[in-house]
């Protein structure tokens, strides 16, 4: 088994924000994955973007002033 990288999730207020953020990250070539929001994290829209925690600064910078991020959390499991 390969070692799992440390992941974080980015939560948004609405599905449309997630999609907008996803489009930007795709265009910038920043690796990410759309996943259901983890059960223990309350989220209005139920989905979120997962990314390697090491990428957080780059990802945040690319979304700055373009998409409103609600919250970023490290994934525990």
């Amino acid at each position: 088994m390969k070692v799992q990288p440390q992941y974080s999730v980015m939560l948004f207020k609405a599905v449309s924000y997630v999609l907008k953020a996803e489009k930007i990250l795709k265009k910038e070539g920043l690796p990410h994955k759309l996943i259901p929001a983890p059960k223990h994290i309350s989220s209005d829209c139920g989905i979120c973007l997962r990314f390697e925690s090491a990428m957080q600064n780059k990802i945040e910078a690319s979304l700055l002033n373009k998409v409103e991020i609600e919250e970023i959390r490290e994934m525990t499991d």
């Binding site: 999609l19 994955k33 759309l34 996943i35 259901p36 989905i47």
Partner: protein, 204 residues
């Protein structure tokens, strides 16, 4: 009036045993019901509880059950109608199959549908109860290509032993056979065969 009335319901099909038991307990203080299957046993026990009886069930060495129902003093008649359940616990025979018939989940909005199908497959990959087989056809095959955004989830499922069948006709139609990233190219014989034998078929 304290004599026990015996109802021999062996060999009778559901809901006969519980219907006979109901008639008997309405006319007698104490009854003994003999049944030969679990469904009848459960139904008669439920009837007893609902009609205010003491219920004692005993399994006999020959595989039958004796259920003794004794009406409790001052028990009121059951107000609600007793509905026997004739559905036996379904035997899980065939494989658990998931059919991915599109690269979207649900109908209505395609953009949303694409979000949902990705979330669905990711969840299935994390879930303990994995399917035996996943079948992909029509635009569903696009999810199995190398550039697919759910490729990691599908590979994880494949390495957990889930069989992935990808419609060859569909790959051909999309001119994508060379780009297949996970699963085995399959045909309608296998696809229709497995769907027909499925114990459970889930189409998101």
């Amino acid at each position: 009036m304290s004599k026990t009335k015996t109802v021999d319901a062996r060999g009778l099909a559901c809901p006969q045993p519980v219907v006979l038991a109901k008639q008997a307990i309405e006319a007698n203080e104490k009854i003994k019901v003999i049944v030969d299957n679990d469904t009848a046993l459960e139904n008669v026990k439920r009837l007893g509880v609902k009609s205010g009886c003491d219920v004692k069930a005993e399994k006999k060495s020959d595989g039958t059950y004796e259920i003794n129902l004794t009406r409790k003093a001052g028990a009121v008649e059951a107000k609600e109608e007793f509905i026997p359940s004739c559905v036996a616990t379904p035997a899980q025979s065939g494989p658990f199959v998931i059919v991915i018939s599109a690269d979207k989940m649900g109908r209505g909005n395609d953009e949303l549908g694409y979000v949902l199908i990705r979330a669905f497959l990711h969840t299935i990959a994390l879930q303990a109860e994995k399917p035996d087989v996943i079948i992909f056809y029509n635009t569903g095959v696009l999810l199995t290509l190398q550039e697919s955004e759910v490729l990691d989830d599908l590979k994880e499922l494949a390495s957990a032993g889930v069989e992935m069948l990808v419609c060859g006709t569909c790959l051909n139609y999309f001119e994508a056979k060379e780009k297949l990233g996970v699963g085995a190219v399959s045909n309608m014989y296998d696809i229709a065969g497995i769907m027909s034998r499925a114990g459970r078929l889930l189409v998101p």
